[in-house]
Amino acid sequence: MIGLTQVYALAGFVFAGFAVLSLRDSANPRRVRNALFWGLFALSFLAGDRLGDLGNGILVLVMALAAALGLGRSGAGAADAEARADSARAYGLRLFLPALLIPLIVLAGSLGVSHGGPALAALVDPKQATLVSLGVATLVVAVLSVRLFRQPVLSPLTEGLRLADTVGWMALLPQMLAALGAVFALAGVGGVVGETVTRVFPMDTRLAGVVVYCLGMAGFTILMGNAFAAFPVMTAGVALPVLVGRFGGDPAAICAIGMLSGFCGTLLTPLAANFNLAPAALLDLDDRFAVIKAQVPTALVLLAVNTVLMNVLAFPAHP
């Protein structure tokens, strides 16, 4: 059955390719460090399950130290601007077709596995249908693009490395933050924060309860980087006992709008690195926090809107 293992193996081979190319890139003075970083990334994806917990811990420690010392940027890969412009003129709108094919394959794959009958469901792990489809899509479309636009056979790896080096050490941060979330959960950080919030803030009126819950969801999400981590704590601590229990609110409306208040927090926090920091690196922005800054006004207004919506919509008209 095709599942996570095969997708991880594909990613492992791609990262191993990045490592080899990095090592051979004499224009990059930090090539050994880059090769170590991507080589360990490859090892994690190819053999992570066989390294043991401590082995994985040492692996991520070495990766983080190598990356924190500073990675270089590969000099190879980038076609010069003139060649790209010529290619754009030659192929025109046809260049968009592969870009559109990726989502189509992902869509067809995910729907196909869940509705394509038992044969497909036996071939592909239904729980991982989207990730498997994404893996297939990247492979198919990369081969197709190389042939269609007459690019060098190795260009997916050289060009992939160019983009990966643009992202740099930031490529590791989202996964490390996810691991940090697990350590927080292990240590019971959520429970302590929840208790503190409910003890510190008085919730004598319905409005006070709504405000504490909505701002708490956003604030806790900012601290934890993830609305999913904030939800159980704030809902068990504030929403169920106070808003539902004491003031008779509708649990469905309260939870749904509470979760969306948490999403406002996600827009504001550097801990949601894959949404907020990685794009800044990917787009070559000088300010690491530029994407968050662009999101602040929308997030704050929507947080206020959510608070009002909950107060208006989630409670019976005559309490």
Binding site: Y8, A11, F41, G48, D49, D53, L54, N56, G57, V60, L61, A64, A68, G77, R84, D86, A88, R89, G92, L93, L95, A99, V106, L107, L131, T138, S145, Q151, P156, T158, E159, G160, R162, W169, Q175, A179, L180, A182, V183, L186, V189, V193, L223, M224, L240, A256, F263, L267, A273, N274, A278, P279, L283, D286, A294, Q295, P297, T298, L302, V305
Partner: protein, 222 residues
């Protein structure tokens, strides 16, 4: 209370601009020690969680194909297309993309667009080109290009976040259903997802106004 030390370390570390990878390691160590684990136990716990969360980094698998398309001139083609279509202003482009991202996410199609596959190779270059056309320059100034790209990235996140919760089978909806069930409250996914609609409309309105304001700013002084 001591376990909150790790949270404080993260906040402080990010605020003073230390390398986030080291901040995360320090925070994990502090949190684990405060919870009574030995340093090696913390390292093992962190390694285990790191290994279990590999799917987060599997998203980088898309870099090679995007790289080939960029080498073939996709960014230039996106810019050229906008240059020819004079009716496509920055505001119209971003409003259309916001609507597209919210609508497709509401149908559960969260993976068909994104920062790596859509914003970097297509939407950001288009937005820069549209800004250049409407401010009457051949290419926007570097500082303005940075603002435009950050705004495009923000628009993708906002469209995704305030669209996906309308879909029934998304992770956050399932989390809420499961959590409420544990607490003796039975709700259908549909009951939760309808309550995401008012906020989704508000998100389009609020961010839409910001898009219009961004597009109407005067041409930045050179």
């Amino acid at each position: 209370m001591l376990v909150l030390l790790g949270v404080l370390l993260v906040v402080a570390g990010f605020a003073v601009g230390l390398n986030p990878l080291l901040v995360v390691l320090a925070s994990a160590l502090a949190t684990g020690l405060a919870a009574g684990l030995s340093p090696l136990e913390v390292l093992a716990a962190f390694g285990k969680a790191f290994n279990e969360n590999r799917y987060v980094s599997a998203a980088w698998l898309i870099l090679p194909v995007i790289g080939v398309l960029e080498r073939s001139g996709l960014q230039e083609a996106a810019r050229g297309l906008i240059g020819r279509l004079k009716s496509v202003t920055f505001a119209r482009l971003m409003l259309s993309y916001l609507l597209f991202r919210q609508a497709t996410s509401a149908l559960g199609l969260t993976s068909i667009a994104g920062q790596t596959q859509t914003i970097r190779p297509i939407i950001a270059p288009m937005a820069e080109a549209a800004r250049a056309v409407e401010t009457g320059v051949s290419e926007v100034a570097p500082a303005e290009a940075q603002r435009v790209r950050a705004f495009a990235a923000a628009t993708d996140n906002i469209g995704l976040f305030f669209g996906e919760d309308i879909f029934l089978a998304i992770g956050s909806i399932l989390l809420m259903v499961g959590f409420l069930e544990q607490n003796g409250i039975t709700v259908e996914p549909l009951q939760l997802s309808v309550w995401a609609i008012p906020t989704a409309i508000a998100a389009f309105g609020v961010h839409g106004v910001r898009i219009l304001m961004f597009g109407r700013r005067e041409r930045p002084r050179p």
